[in-house]
C-alpha cells in the first residue's frame, strides 16, 4: 500500500503512521493530522500543545509518548487529552454536549471551568513540557514528511496493553473497597454541594422583599428550582385549563335547536369522511396490489 503524497491538508500536517503487518493483514498506514493548538486568549507563539486529528485506536499517554519519542528524540510530553469514539448504540452525538448531571439539576453540579473547550471526537491535545519540545516535534515531523525514502514511525497498540485472549478475558470485577471509597468521596462532595444549595435557599427564605413579603417554602422542597419551577407552573395551569373547563361545564350542549342540528351534521360528516377515508385506503391498497390472492 502506497503512502499518500499529500503532506498538508487544510493547514494540518499529515503524518503517516505505519501499522505493522501480521500473518493476516498487510502493512498499512494510518494518517494523523496535526497542527499547533491555538485557543483564544493565547497567541500561537505561546502554546505548548499540539492538536491531533484522527487518532489511531488506543491512543493514550503511553502510546502517544512512544510515538513522539520515535519521531523526535528529546521532546518531553507533559499530558495528553482526547475524545475517542465509543458508542455501541449510536445514541451519542459528539457534536452536542450532553451532561445528564447538569440537565437533571443544574444547582447541584460542581461549577467547573466551562472555558475548557471540549475536544472534538477522534482528536487529542498533546501538551509538551516546554515550547521548544513542541517546536522540535513539529519540525522533525515536517522534515520527516517532506523527505523521500523514509521510514515512518510505527504504531503499536502498546506493549503493556495486551491483545487477543488476554485482553478479552480480563476480569471486570471492581474492587469493592476502592469503589466504596470512590463512591463515598463523590457523595460527600455532592452533599456539600447540596448543603450549599440549601443555604442558598434559606437566604432566599429569610429575604424580605421591598413590599415586606417573604417566600414561603414547604419542608420537603429541596431546591430553588423546585420552588420557583412549581410556582411558575401553577400560574400557567390556572390560566389555562381550570378556567376553561369551568366555562365549558356551564354551557349546555343540546339546548338550542341549532346545536342539535349542528351535532347531527357533524356526525354525518364524520361518517362520510370516514367512508371517504376508507375508500382512499382501499384505493391505496389496490395500487399496492393487496387484493391479489395469489
Amino acid at each position: 500500500m502506497a503512502v499518500t503524497s499529500i503532506q498538508q491538508i487544510k493547514g494540518y500536517t499529515v503524518l503517516p503512521v505505519q501499522l505493522e503487518p501480521s500473518k493476516h493483514v498487510q502493512k498499512s498506514y494510518h494518517y494523523l493530522y496535526l497542527k499547533k493548538h491555538v485557543i483564544k486568549n493565547q497567541p500561537e507563539s505561546q502554546t505548548r500543545s499540539l492538536f491531533l486529528v484522527n487518532l489511531p485506536i488506543n491512543s493514550n499517554f503511553a502510546t502517544i509518548k512512544k510515538l513522539f519519542s520515535d519521531v523526535a528524540i528529546g521532546c518531553i510530553i507533559e499530558s495528553f487529552e482526547s475524545t475517542q469514539y465509543e458508542d455501541p448504540k449510536s445514541v451519542i452525538n459528539y457534536d452536542v454536549e450532553v451532561d445528564l448531571s447538569r440537565l437533571t439539576n443544574e444547582e447541584l453540579v460542581p461549577t467547573e471551568d466551562t472555558s475548557n473547550q471540549r475536544i472534538p471526537v477522534g482528536c487529542g491535545i498533546v501538551t509538551f513540557l516546554d515550547r521548544s519540545g513542541l517546536n522540535l516535534a513539529l519540525t522533525s515531523i515536517k522534515k520527516l514528511v517532506s523527505s523521500n525514502n523514509i521510514k515512518y514511525p510505527s504504531w503499536r497498540i502498546s506493549e503493556d496493553e495486551a491483545t487477543g485472549t488476554v485482553r478479552f478475558t480480563k476480569s471486570k470485577k471492581l474492587n469493592s473497597e476502592a469503589l466504596s471509597e470512590e463512591v463515598s468521596k463523590s457523595l460527600q462532595e455532592f452533599q456539600q454541594r447540596e448543603l450549599a444549595a440549601k443555604e442558598d435557599l434559606s437566604t432566599i427564605k429569610s429575604l424580605v422583599d421591598e413590599d415586606g413579603f417573604t417566600l414561603v417554602v414547604g419542608s420537603h422542597r429541596k431546591t430553588k428550582n423546585g420552588i420557583l419551577g412549581s410556582s411558575k407552573k401553577a400560574i400557567d395551569l390556572e390560566k389555562n385549563e381550570a378556567a376553561l373547563k369551568k366555562m365549558k361545564k356551564k354551557e349546555k350542549q343540546d339546548f338550542y335547536r341549532f346545536q342539535i342540528r349542528e351535532r347531527k351534521k357533524l356526525e354525518m360528516n364524520e361518517l362520510l369522511n370516514k367512508f371517504k377515508e376508507d375508500q382512499e385506503r382501499v384505493r391505496v391498497m389496490k395500487e399496492k396490489r393487496r387484493f391479489r390472492p395469489y
Binding site: T104, V109, V166
Partner: protein
C-alpha cells in the same frame, strides 16, 4: 329494509326461464347486467376497471386521477345512504370496500371469456358432427377403438370388463351444456388456469333401466367417451381448433372419466385457428346421463348396487355409497346448474358470496376433488342454497335473500362451524325450485351429510369424516376472525394462502404407499365400498389414529398425497398406479398443545373388564394396569420419553406398526425430530437423557435457585429494605436459547438479570449521577452482607454502555452455591423523574439525544419488566412457545443476527404466531411454530404494516362482553388498537423509509411500538432478516419431506454477503463451559463443570468482549455481526466477525472536518476517505491470537 323489498321483486323476475347452454350467445350478455347493476349502486367508480390488468402503471395513475375527479362532486345523499347501509350490512365500511375490490380483482377477463365462448361454440358444432356408431360387443368395441389411427384406449373403470352381455354404442348427445362455475358465472381467476365444465348427456336410448347395476352404465359411458375422443382428434384439426386431448377423472372420482381439452399453438398457425392457450383456460368434457334415468331410490346411500361374491354367511352385501352417488351425480349436472342458477337469480349477492366462498376454500386447499377434501365451490353453493331455504331445526331460514355477500358468506361459514352435519345430525333439503324446506335433522349418519331429498344424493359424498372435521375447524377459525371487532381481518380470511402442508399442520407424517402391504386386506367387498385402495387405506389409518391419539389431536387429516390428473388417451387408466413409489398417504395432525406431550395414555378403570379388554387388544404389549395417586387403578400405556421425538410421533409409529403394517415406522417420514434436534441440548442431559428438550422443567432448578436468593435479598438488613425483585432475564421466562446449567460461566447469559427496588424514600439525591452513586452505595452494602453472611459470592461490575451518557451505573453479580448466577440493577422512584426533567431542560439540539437516552432507560428498567411479566404468563399458556422461540433464536444466532435483536424483540415477533395465528391456528409443535414465524416474517411488510399484538392474559374468546369481569378484561380494544395504529401512522409519516424504527410492534406493554426496535436494529439488518426468511421458507416448503441438508444450509450463515469476514478461533472450547452438550465427543470424555473458578471472567468467551469493543469503536462506520454463542459452533472454539461498511460513511469522499468521527485518509484534493485498510489492521491487531483468518473483499 330497502334490500328486503327488492328481494321480492327479484323473485318474480327470476321466474323467467333461462337457458344456460352454450350455443345461446345472448345468455352471457344478459348475464352481466345484474352484476353491473349491483356494482353501480355500490360504487360509482367501477365502470373503467375491467382492463387495468394489462395497463402500465402510468395509465393507472391517470385513471385514478380521473376517478377522483368523477367521484368528488357525487358526494351526495346516495353516498350517505351507502355509508350507512354498509356499516350495517357489512362488518364495517372498509370490509365491504375490500370485498368489492376483491370480487372485481377475481373476475375473469372479459376478452378471455369472449375468446373461450367462440371456442365453445366451435366445439359444440364439432361434437354435433360426430357420427353415430354401430352397436358393438365388448370385443368389437375394443377392436374398433384400438384399430383407429389414434391408438386410443377405452377408459374402463376397475374392474376391467371381460365379457359383457350388452352392446356399446355412440349416439349424438341429447344435450350439450355449460355447467360448473363458468356456467354459473361464478368463475374466478386462478393461478393455474380455470377449467370449464361442459356436460354432454348421453341419449336415453342407449340405456336399460337396470344399467345402474354392476358398472353397466359406466362401461357404456367409457366407450362413449373414447369413441368421442377418437373423432374429436380428427375433427378439431379439420375445424381449426388445435387442441390436446387427454383423459381425466372428474374430481378424482375413479368411476367417472372425462375428456380434458387444452389449447396449444401449432407450428404453422392458420388464420382460422382458434388458440386459447394464453387464457390458461382448459375445457373438461364430462359425459353425464339424463336426469331421472335411473330410479333414484335404488341408489340411496345405504343400497348395494354392485353385486359381488360375499364372504359373510348371510350373503348380505355392504352398501356402495360412493358408487351410487357417482352414478346419481352423473345424472344431475344440468339439473343442479339450473337449480343454482335460479337461486343465484333470487338472491342479489349470491354470486359474490359464492366467489368469496370459492376463494376461501381454495386458500385453504379445499376443492371438490376427492383428495382435496371433497368440498369445493359446488358444495359451498349448494349448502348456501339449502340455507336460503331453511336449515334450522324447525326449518327456519338461516340465510335470507336480501343478505349482503358478506352476510351470506358469514352465515354459511357460521353454519359450517357450529352445526354438526356428521354425528349429531344432518341437513336435508329438496332441490325443487320454489320449495322451501331445508331442515336440520337430529341423529346423523356418522358421515358428513347434506341430503337432497329430490335426487337422493348426499351432496357431501366425496367428503370423509377426516376432511369434514378439518373443514369445520377452519370454518370455526374464520368465524372467530369474522367476529373480531378490533382488527380488520380481511387479509387472513381471503388473501393469505394457508395451504402448505408443512405450515398448516402441527405435525406432518407421510406413509409411503408402496410399503403398506395392505393389498390382501383390500378384498372385493372393500373394493366396492371404498372404490380405491387409497380411500381404503386413508380411512383405515384415520380410524386407527383417531382412536390412538384421542384427545392429543383435535383433528386428523388423512389424504392421498397425489392427484391423478390427466393422463394419456392411449392408456386405460393413469399408468403409475402399479408401482407406488412416489405415492404417499399424508397424515396431518392438528394437536392439542395441553395433551399431546403427555407421557401416559389412560384407559378404562381396572374394574371395567369389557372395555379393559378392548383397550388391551388395541394397544397390544404397551397396555398395562397402573395405580395412580388418586387411588384409581386404570389400564394405561406409558410412553418412554425421548429427548427430541414428540410423543405423538412415538405413538403413531407404534400403533401403525401394530395395526397397519409391521415396521412401517422405519419407512415413515416426519420432520418433527429434524427441527427439535436443532435446539441446543444441555450438558445435564448426559445424566438425565430422557428429559425432553422442549419440557419446561428444564428451567425449574434455575427458578428455585432464584427464589431462594430472592428470599435472602428481601430479608437483608439495609437502611431501606428491598421491596421488590423483578426478573427480566429470558431464562427466567423459559425463552433462553441455552438452557440454564449450573457453573456454565461461559454462557453469555449466565448471570440472569433482575431489577431491584427499595422501599420508597424522599431522600434519594435530586441529581442523576449522584443518584446512580447512591445506588452503588446500596449495592456495595448488599455485596458486603452477601459475602460476609451467606454462602453466596458477589461482586460489582460497571455498566458503561447500557445508558449512554450515564457511565456510573453499576450492577451487582451474585453467584449461588448451587451454581447459578444472577445480577441486579437498582431502580428508584426518582430515576424516571430525573430523565424526564433532563428532557425538559434540554436545548433544542439536545432534546432528541436526551429523549433517546430516556428511551434506553425505559427499555432496560421498565419495558423489560413489563415484557417479562406479560411473556411469562403467555409461556405457560402456550406450551410450545418456549421451544419454538428457542429454535427461532437458534436460527437468528446461526445467521449472525443475535447481536442485532434484543431478546424482547425476538420474543415479540415469535409470539405473533401464537396470539394472532391467522390464517393458521395456534402452533402445537416446534416445527409448525418455527415455520410459521418465518412465514410471517417473509410476508411482513414492516414499512407499511405495524404489528399490533394482543398480549392479554384473558384468552376466552367470548362474543358477549356483558358481565362485569369481562368488561375489565385486558384484551385489546378498538380504541387502543386505533391509537397504536395512529402511532404507527405518525411514525411513518416522519420516517417513511423506516430509517429509524423498522419493526413497529405495539402491545399494551408498549403502545409506542418502537421501544425494542429503536437504536438497535438497522435498516440493512431488518431487510436482511426479511430476505433470509424468504429464502429459507422457499427452500423449506419445496417438499413436505424436509431435507436435512437443506435444513443445515438454512442454519449456516452466508459469509459472502459481507464486506469482510474475520474467522476466529479460541484456545479453549466453550461448549461444555456454556453448559452445552458437545455433539462430536464420546460421552465418557465430557466433563461437566462442578465449581466456579476464582475469576469467572477467566473462563468466559473472549470473542464476546472483543466484539463489544469493536462494536463500541466502529459502530458508526461498520455494521458488525458475530455469533453470540461460540459454544454452539463446531468444536465450541470457532467464531466469526463479519462487517458491512456503512455506505454513507465509506463510499464517498468527504470534506475535511476535524470531528468526522471515523478513521480517514487524505486524498489528493484535500478531502477525506474512510481508511478501510487501517481499520482492518487495527481490528486484527486487537484480536491478536484469536484471529485465524481474514477474508476481505
Amino acid at each position: 329494509m330497502v334490500k328486503r323489498r327488492r328481494e321480492q321483486e327479484e323473485v318474480d323476475v327470476a321466474d323467467v326461464s333461462i337457458n344456460p347452454t352454450v350455443p345461446n350467445g345472448s345468455s352471457t350478455s344478459e348475464e352481466h347486467d345484474p352484476l353491473n347493476e349491483v356494482d353501480d349502486t355500490n360504487n360509482s367508480e367501477d365502470l373503467d376497471d375491467d382492463d387495468d390488468d394489462d395497463d402500465e402503471s402510468g395509465d393507472e395513475e391517470e385513471q385514478s386521477a380521473k376517478r377522483s375527479k368523477v367521484t368528488r362532486p357525487q358526494l351526495s345523499a346516495q353516498d350517505v345512504q351507502i355509508a350507512r347501509e354498509t356499516a350495517e350490512l357489512f362488518k364495517s365500511n372498509i370490509f365491504k370496500l375490500e370485498i368489492d375490490e376483491l370480487v372485481k380483482e377475481l373476475r375473469l377477463k372479459e376478452s378471455h371469456c369472449k375468446l373461450v365462448e367462440k371456442v365453445l361454440h366451435r366445439l359444440h358444432d364439432i361434437i354435433q358432427q360426430v357420427p353415430k356408431s354401430a352397436e358393438f360387443t365388448l370385443t368389437e368395441a375394443e377392436k374398433y377403438i384400438s384399430d383407429s389411427k389414434h391408438k386410443i384406449s377405452i377408459p374402463f373403470p376397475d374392474p376391467k370388463p371381460t365379457g359383457l352381455n350388452y352392446k356399446l354404442q355412440y349416439d349424438t348427445p341429447e344435450n350439450i351444456s355449460l355447467v360448473g362455475s363458468f356456467g354459473l358465472k361464478t368463475g374466478i381467476q386462478q393461478q393455474n388456469g380455470m377449467s370449464i365444465d361442459v356436460a354432454l348427456t348421453m341419449p336415453k336410448s342407449l340405456f336399460q333401466p337396470k344399467d345402474y347395476l354392476n358398472y353397466r352404465a359406466l362401461y357404456k359411458r367409457s366407450f362413449y367417451i373414447s369413441y368421442l375422443a377418437n373423432y374429436l382428434i380428427t375433427l378439431t384439426k379439420k375445424n381449426h381448433l388445435p387442441v390436446k386431448i387427454s383423459y381425466e377423472y372428474v374430481n378424482g372420482d375413479k368411476l367417472c372419466p372425462a375428456l380434458h381439452i387444452e389449447s396449444y399453438t401449432p407450428d404453422n398457425v392458420h388464420d382460422d385457428d382458434l388458440i386459447f392457450e394464453k387464457t390458461k383456460f382448459s375445457i373438461r368434457l364430462i359425459v353425464g346421463f339424463e336426469f331421472g334415468l335411473f330410479e333414484s331410490k335404488k341408489l340411496l346411500p345405504d343400497r348395494n348396487c354392485v353385486r359381488v361374491q360375499s364372504e359373510s354367511d348371510d350373503g348380505k352385501l355392504p352398501p356402495t355409497p360412493l358408487y351410487n352417488a357417482s352414478i346419481l351425480s352423473s345424472t344431475t349436472y344440468n339439473y343442479y346448474l339450473k337449480y343454482l342458477y335460479t337461486n343465484k337469480k333470487s338472491a342479489d349477492s349470491f354470486r359474490d358470496a359464492a366467489v368469496l366462498g370459492k376463494l376461501w376454500l381454495k386458500q385453504r386447499g379445499f376443492s371438490s376433488h376427492v383428495n382435496e377434501g371433497g368440498f369445493g365451490h359446488f358444495e359451498f353453493a349448494m349448502l348456501m342454497t339449502a340455507l336460503l331455504g331453511g336449515g334450522g331445526e324447525n326449518g327456519n331460514k338461516i340465510l335470507l335473500h336480501g343478505f349482503s355477500s358478506y352476510q351470506l358468506f358469514k352465515g354459511t361459514i357460521k353454519y359450517l362451524a357450529t352445526q354438526d352435519l356428521c354425528n349429531e345430525g344432518y341437513l336435508s333439503f329438496s332441490s325443487v325450485v320454489g320449495e322451501v324446506n331445508s331442515v336440520y335433522k337430529k341423529n346423523g349418519f356418522n358421515v358428513p351429510t347434506l341430503f337432497d331429498k329430490n335426487t337422493k344424493i348426499n351432496i357431501l359424498w366425496k367428503m370423509t369424516n377426516s376432511s369434514y372435521s378439518v373443514l369445520k375447524k377452519l370454518a370455526n377459525d374464520t368465524l372467530q376472525l369474522l367476529n373480531d371487532v378490533v382488527q380488520d381481518r380481511f387479509r387472513p380470511i381471503f388473501i393469505l394462502s394457508s395451504n402448505n402442508p408443512l405450515l398448516k399442520y402441527d405435525t406432518l407424517i407421510q406413509l409411503p404407499l408402496a410399503h403398506l402391504n395392505q393389498k390382501e386386506n383390500f378384498g372385493p367387498v372393500e373394493k366396492i365400498s371404498f372404490l380405491t385402495f387409497e380411500n381404503f387405506v386413508c380411512s383405515k389409518v384415520h380410524r386407527i389414529l383417531s382412536k390412538a391419539l384421542d384427545e392429543r389431536a383435535y383433528q386428523i387429516s388423512v389424504t392421498a398425497s397425489f392427484n391423478d390428473s390427466k393422463w394419456s388417451i392411449h392408456k386405460r387408466k393413469p399408468s403409475f398406479s402399479s408401482e407406488n413409489d412416489d405415492k404417499y398417504i399424508t397424515i396431518g395432525l392438528y394437536l392439542n398443545p395441553l395433551e399431546c406431550e403427555k407421557k401416559v395414555t389412560k384407559g378404562p378403570l381396572h374394574s371395567d373388564k369389557a372395555n379393559g379388554e378392548k383397550f388391551a387388544s388395541f394397544w397390544g404389549n404397551k397396555a398395562q394396569v397402573r395405580k395412580y395417586k388418586d387411588g384409581n387403578i386404570q389400564y394405561s400405556c406409558l410412553w418412554s420419553p425421548s429427548p427430541i421425538e414428540s410423543t405423538v410421533v412415538t405413538i403413531t409409529k407404534y400403533i401403525l406398526d401394530l395395526h397397519l403394517t409391521k415396521d412401517i415406522s422405519q419407512k415413515l417420514i416426519t420432520n418433527s425430530t429434524k427441527f427439535t434436534q436443532l435446539i441446543p441440548r444441555p450438558i445435564t442431559s448426559l445424566a438425565n437423557s430422557t428429559q425432553p428438550i422442549i419440557s419446561p422443567s428444564n428451567f425449574q432448578t434455575l427458578k428455585n435457585s432464584y427464589n431462594d436468593l430472592s428470599k435472602i435479598l428481601l430479608n437483608l438488613k439495609l437502611p431501606l429494605a428491598v421491596r421488590s425483585i423483578l426478573p427480566i432475564s429470558p431464562a427466567l421466562r423459559n425463552t433462553s436459547l441455552i438452557l440454564p446449567v449450573p457453573f456454565s460461566v461461559a454462557d453469555p447469559d449466565f448471570f440472569n438479570e433482575s431489577i431491584l427496588q427499595f422501599e420508597s424514600s424522599m431522600k434519594w439525591p435530586d441529581e442523576l449521577i449522584a443518584l446512580e452513586r447512591t445506588k452503588t452505595a446500596f449495592l456495595l452494602k448488599i455485596d458486603e452482607l452477601i459475602n460476609k453472611e451467606t454462602a453466596y459470592k458477589s461482586f460489582i461490575v460497571k455498566d458503561e454502555h447500557t445508558i449512554p451518557y450515564n457511565n456510573q451505573v453499576t450492577v451487582l453479580h451474585i453467584s449461588t452455591p448451587d451454581g447459578f448466577g444472577f445480577k441486579f440493577r437498582v431502580l428508584t422512584e426518582r430515576d424516571e423523574v430525573l430523565y424526564l426533567r433532563a428532557i425538559e431542560n434540554a436545548t433544542e439540539k439536545q432534546k432528541a439525544i436526551v429523549t433517546n437516552v430516556y428511551l434506553e432507560f425505559v427499555q432496560k428498567y421498565m419495558g423489560s419488566v413489563k415484557h417479562h411479566r406479560a411473556l411469562s404468563t403467555l409461556v405457560n399458556h402456550f406450551p410450545f412457545f418456549s421451544p419454538t422461540v428457542r429454535l427461532f433464536k437458534r436460527w437468528l444466532e446461526s445467521q449472525l443476527l443475535s447481536h442485532h435483536f434484543s431478546d424482547e424483540l425476538i420474543e415479540l415477533i415469535a409470539i405473533k404466531v401464537f396470539v394472532d395465528p391467522a390464517p393458521f391456528s395456534v402452533p402445537s409443535s416446534v416445527e409448525s411454530g418455527f415455520l410459521r414465524i418465518l412465514h410471517f416474517l417473509c410476508n411482513w411488510n414492516w414499512k407499511e404494516d405495524p404489528l399490533i399484538l394482543d398480549l392479554a392474559k384473558d384468552f376466552e374468546n367470548s362474543e358477549e362482553k356483558n358481565n362485569y369481569i369481562d368488561k375489565i378484561s385486558d384484551r385489546l380494544t378498538v380504541q387502543t388498537y386505533q391509537s397504536m395504529y395512529n402511532n404507527f401512522y405518525s411514525l411513518r409519516r416522519d420516517d417513511p423509509n423506516a430509517l429509524k424504527v423498522q419493526f413497529f410492534i405495539g402491545s399494551k406493554e408498549d403502545p409506542s411500538g418502537k421501544l425494542w426496535s429503536l437504536n438497535k436494529v438497522t435498516l440493512p439488518i431488518a431487510s436482511r432478516l426479511t430476505a433470509l426468511s424468504k429464502a429459507s421458507i422457499s427452500l423449506l416448503l419445496k417438499s413436505p419431506d424436509v431435507n436435512e441438508k437443506v435444513l443445515k444450509m438454512i442454519f449456516t450463515p452466508a459469509l459472502k454477503d459481507y464486506d469482510f469476514a474475520i474467522k476466529l478461533k479460541t484456545q479453549a472450547e466453550f461448549t461444555t463451559r456454556s453448559g452445552l452438550l458437545p455433539t462430536n465427543k464420546f460421552k465418557n470424555l465430557i466433563q461437566t463443570p462442578t465449581s466456579f473458578p476464582d475469576d469467572i471472567y477467566s473462563l468466559q468467551d473472549p470473542v464476546q468482549a472483543f466484539f463489544e469493543e469493536l462494536q463500541s469503536k466502529y459502530n458508526n462506520a461498520i455494521i458488525l455481526s458475530s455469533n453470540k454463542y461460540t459454544g454452539l459452533n463446531e468444536n465450541g472454539n470457532v467464531n466469526v466477525i463479519t462487517g458491512l461498511f456503512n455506505p454513507s460513511v465509506t463510499s464517498a469522499k468527504k470534506k475535511f472536518r476535524v470531528n468526522i468521527g471515523y478513521n480517514t485518509k487524505p486524498t489528493e484534493d484535500e478531502q477525506l476517505l474512510f481508511n478501510k485498510e487501517a481499520v482492518l489492521n487495527e481490528i486484527v491487531t486487537l484480536g491478536g491470537d484469536l484471529i485465524s483468518s481474514v477474508e476481505f473483499k
